[in-house]
């Protein structure tokens, strides 16, 4: 096994895998304790209404029931409006258990605690919730209309966020203006493991909480705040976590209630969502209406972009501000768009709250721009590749100050585009398409391109490294991986730089009792922030070791060098050397260092994804034939892990483009509440992906890394959507919202929409 810096860039096998493969890894639902109680939530079955009464007496008297709580018996502070307004708008807080009013189907109203799960489930059925229904509002544009039913009457409007970026007149000087009206549909994150939490009183008055979370430190702070306890009396552990995709990055009411129950009852309590609950109670993603105009000169040079993005918040202004703000920041994408006039609005509706889901605003911005590029190309009768080439930022333009205020770090966008076109064989596919169109074949071929840039790695992260006298190396990270293979990545960085075998390195994470501080894993941040924190800590360890070696070898520290085998010697005298463990032994204890790494601002991964689809115009079925993804995430530590992230993201992008949509009926009853009704794709629907990469290091961190967790979902959805529209262009179709399911496609073919309006658009 390689044991030097050459470890960086190698496809080292993941150390995480064996326990997951053998079933010995422990997720929240697998944790057991003597006397474990089970919490089951009673949820609103009404989308909007006044909560008249919650009758719990019958349920509380049932066998096996320990307690039943409503908001009045379990007072917990609301989850604050986020980001906190100035001044804070207390009326927008999200209660842990509903009081006075319910705002979406699935909102927790009461909680039943039983000695067995079945007792708690049965008793939850016996709780009578009396709700006086109110008119509902589901569509974000309807929510903004005058006289719309108000979710927060004290607030006076369903508009909870509004931000203007740029100035009016963005289209001034345009020779041509194309317009679009798009809906980036609401989807469900669907990690295979639903939300769950378990908590119990521990020794010394500490409350131990285990949660399926991406951000244990954030949850610890929220639990401490909700329960009025000092943070150091709360321990949060994320055990094995079965996927999160952003949806487990926030704090959920059910987690706080579970912690409160354990504290109140003095016993272990566990709560695990059913899948149907998960489809209601876990945040949904996307959900953005876009009204867009792109101005250009006749040669295809973009002059300016004018847009209104209305982001659904769902029932609360809770985590929806993440996609609201990220779509704003990335509004001009990889293009030189000198003038921007953007209105961003957040609207509450009687639906499950929106939150970050893989991409979180980036896919919305990318789909918007990539559709507009296609509309512009069609208007000017140019190949859209040519329109992209004319407007992509050039390598010489970095760092680039985007009109949104973003500062892009580095990139060679045209190189990624060129590589993807070459991998695809663009000219051949276009030739095949032309032949197909000449024939009378009912199956049309479509090619769709998405050229994109996204943002990753904000904030700071903690890392520490300790070389033990016994030779083992312990790495601590404040991040909280849940499937990304971060422990392996950090092991490679530490082992590579220390020049020790990877088998000697262990990584500690996701336990606030073992790691002093940290943030978590989301926003494609962990590789670069946790990785660079560890790299800095290693450098400090090496510096300390050099100084120790200098004393032991009676040399000047400047004359001491680290040899290829990791030991230290006086330059030119390699025969007398001291290993790290030996130095620790001589020093009488571990050699350690810690580091909090933050970069001046985010990093900007980019790439080009191209999809080829076949569309059966008689049935409307879309077959994805090829998906080429060229990604650039700066320096790569583990190509296998990076490819895995691309694969997963691309699959979720394809899923949004072709299959998935959360649907409600007109009263706000959810229609997609399980994995039969929600079109989660299987292996039968996914093609093989063709991956390529370019490597443009980021100047913003020493390792040159950028994030790769979300790019797949950012590019692929737009590429596939463009491919479907391209296939249908002979039918006069200029736009089709996602998902391109058979009915939508069939209608487009048969209605030949030539106005750029989607036949299904919820707000057209």
């Amino acid at each position: 096994m390689a044991s030097s810096v050459t470890l960086l860039g190698h496809a080292v096998e993941r150390s995480e895998d064996p326990p997951l493969l053998t079933g010995s890894a422990r997720f929240v639902a697998d944790l057991d304790r003597p006397g474990m109680l089970h919490a089951v939530f009673v949820r609103s079955q009404v989308a909007h209404g006044l909560l008249r009464s919650v009758e719990v007496a019958e349920a509380a008297a049932m066998p096996g029931v320990v307690a039943v709580f409503t908001a009045s018996d379990l007072p917990l502070a609301d989850l604050p409006e986020w980001p906190r307004g100035e001044p804070p708008r207390a009326e927008l807080g999200r209660p842990c258990l509903a009081r006075e009013r319910v705002r979406f189907v699935g909102e927790a109203v009461a909680v039943v605690v039983g000695s067995t799960l079945s007792a708690a489930v049965d008793a939850a059925e016996a709780v009578t919730v009396d709700i006086e229904p109110l008119p509902t509002v589901l569509d974000p544009l309807d929510a903004l209309a005058e006289r719309a039913p108000l979710l927060f009457p004290e607030h006076g409007s369903n508009e909870v966020l509004r931000q203007l970026t740029g100035a009016a007149g963005a289209l001034d000087g345009s020779e041509v203006v194309v317009r679009g009206h798009f809906y980036n549909q609401r989807v469900a994150p669907c990690p295979l493991e639903p939300n769950g939490a378990a908590a119990w009183p521990a020794a010394g008055g500490r409350l131990d909480c285990f949660a399926s979370t991406q951000a244990p430190f954030r949850l610890r702070a929220a639990i401490a705040l909700a329960l009025g306890r000092p943070e150091e009396t709360v321990r949060v552990v994320a055990p094995a976590v079965g996927g999160g995709f952003g949806a487990k990055g926030g704090v959920y009411p059910e987690q706080l209630v579970t912690a409160a129950l354990a504290e109140r009852l003095g016993q272990p309590v566990r709560f695990v969502e059913t899948r149907s609950e998960n489809m209601l109670a876990m945040c949904h993603g996307r959900g953005q209406v876009q009204e867009v105009a792109l101005g250009a000169r006749r040669d295809g040079t973009i002059v300016g972009l004018e847009a209104t993005m209305v982001t659904e918040m769902g029932a609360y202004c809770w985590r929806g501000p993440v996609p609201f703000s990220t779509s704003r920041i990335m509004a001009t994408g990889p293009y030189r768009i000198p003038k921007l006039s953007l209105t961003s609005i957040g609207a509450v509706t009687n639906t499950t709250p929106i939150g970050p889901y893989r991409g979180a605003g980036r896919p919305e911005a990318t789909a918007m721009l990539e559709r507009m590029i296609e509309l512009l190309a069609a208007e000017l009768d140019l190949d859209s590749v040519e329109v992209r080439r004319r407007n992509l930022l050039a390598p010489s333009e970095f760092p680039y100050a985007a009109p949104s205020g973003a500062s892009y770090d580095s990139g060679d966008y045209s190189a990624a585009l060129a590589k993807a076109l070459a991998l695809l064989g663009y000219e051949q596919v276009r030739a095949e398409q032309a032949d197909r169109r000449q024939s009378s074949c009912a199956t049309e071929l479509g090619v769709g391109i998405a050229t994109f840039v996204e943002i990753s790695g904000s904030g700071s992260e903690y890392g520490a490294v300790r070389v033990e006298p016994g030779g083992s190396v312990v790495v601590l990270t404040g991040s909280s991986p849940h499937g990304q293979g971060l422990a392996t990545t950090l092991t490679q960085i530490a082992a590579g730089m220390l020049k020790v075998p990877i088998s000697t390195v262990s990584v500690v994470h996701s336990d606030t009792a073992l790691v002093p501080r940290g943030v978590g894993t989301f926003g494609s941040r962990s590789g670069q922030l946790a990785g660079n924190a560890v790299a800095h800590a290693v450098e400090e360890v090496l510096e300390k070791a050099r100084e120790l070696a200098a004393v032991e070898l009676e040399a000047d520290p400047d004359d001491v060098v680290q040899l290829e085998d990791g030991s230290f010697a006086v330059a030119g005298v390699p025969s007398i050397s001291l290993g790290l463990a030996e130095l620790a032994r001589r020093a009488g204890g571990p050699i350690g260092a810690e580091w909090d790494f933050a970069q001046e601002s985010g990093t900007y991964p980019f790439g080009t994804h191209i999809a080829v689809v076949e569309v059966d115009t008689e049935t409307g079925k879309v077959e994805l034939r090829r998906l080429v993804a060229v990604d650039d995430c700066g320096r790569v530590v583990n190509p296998k892990i990076v490819a895995g992230q691309v694969h997963g993201g691309v699959a979720q992008g394809i899923a949004q483009a072709l299959f998935e949509a959360v649907r409600y009926d007109e009263s706000g009853n959810p229609l997609t509440t399980n994995l039969a009704d929600y079109a989660f794709p299987s292996a039968a629907e996914m093609p093989a992906f063709e991956l390529g990469e370019t490597e443009t290091p980021s100047p913003r961190n020493p390792l040159g890394m950028k994030g790769i967790g979300e790019s797949g979902a950012v590019g692929a959805a737009a590429a596939v959507q463009n491919a479907v529209v391209d296939a249908l262009s002979p039918y006069g179709v200029l736009h089709l919202d996602m998902p391109a399911d058979p009915e939508r496609v069939w209608r487009a073919v048969h209605e030949g929409r030539r106005d750029g309006q989607d036949p299904f658009s919820s707000s057209s």
Binding site: P18, T22, G23, R275, L675, A683
Partner: protein, 167 residues
């Protein structure tokens, strides 16, 4: 099922991974998944949808691949049950599990136990499946992390290895 039967407590014996287990005081309506996880201390099989859509709870009952969430535990009396915990000896990985590591087929790992059982079933029944047969065979095992590509690569590697096409 009437309330009386549903609440009646049953005692029976299950054979799981070659070991006999006494189940006492179980309700008739308990699924095999519930009994494995909550009564027998075998939480390797996962519960992700409780309606047979996701395959995370896949186990073998008398050699037949089933979703343990859809099987009543009491109907599995006298049958050979194999779960993910029984695919390899303690501290060992089966060839399928090893190929999953080598090919990067695991990410969060929640669907993985069920998938591994399903792959053992597939390659036990069909030593040389086509790509279509492989995709169909695992189409009942949903994975949100991987996009399936690396899983397909792992399966193909085991197939070739077992056929002697790979060392």
């Amino acid at each position: 099922m009437t309330g009386a039967i549903a609440s009646a407590e049953l005692s029976y014996e299950l054979v799981v991974n070659g070991r006999h287990h006494d189940v006492n005081g179980a309700l008739a309506g308990e699924s095999l998944l519930y009994v494995l996880r909550n009564r027998l201390g075998l939480p390797g099989s996962k519960n992700a949808c409780e309606q047979g859509e996701c395959g995370s709870c896949s186990v073998l009952v008398d050699g037949v691949l089933v979703c343990a969430c859809l099987v009543l535990a009491a109907t599995a009396v006298g049958r050979e049950i194999v779960t993910v915990e029984g695919l390899a000896g303690p501290g060992e990985l089966s060839d399928v599990q090893e190929a999953f590591v080598e090919n990067g087929a695991v990410q969060c790992g929640f669907c993985t136990p069920g998938l591994v059982v399903a792959v053992h079933d597939l390659l036990g029944r069909l030593p040389d499946p086509s790509e279509l047969e492989i995709r169909e065979a695992i189409s009942g095992n949903l994975c949100r992390c991987t996009g399936y590509g690396r899983i397909l690569a792992a399966i193909d590697e085991v197939r070739r290895r077992r056929l002697g096409e790979l060392p």
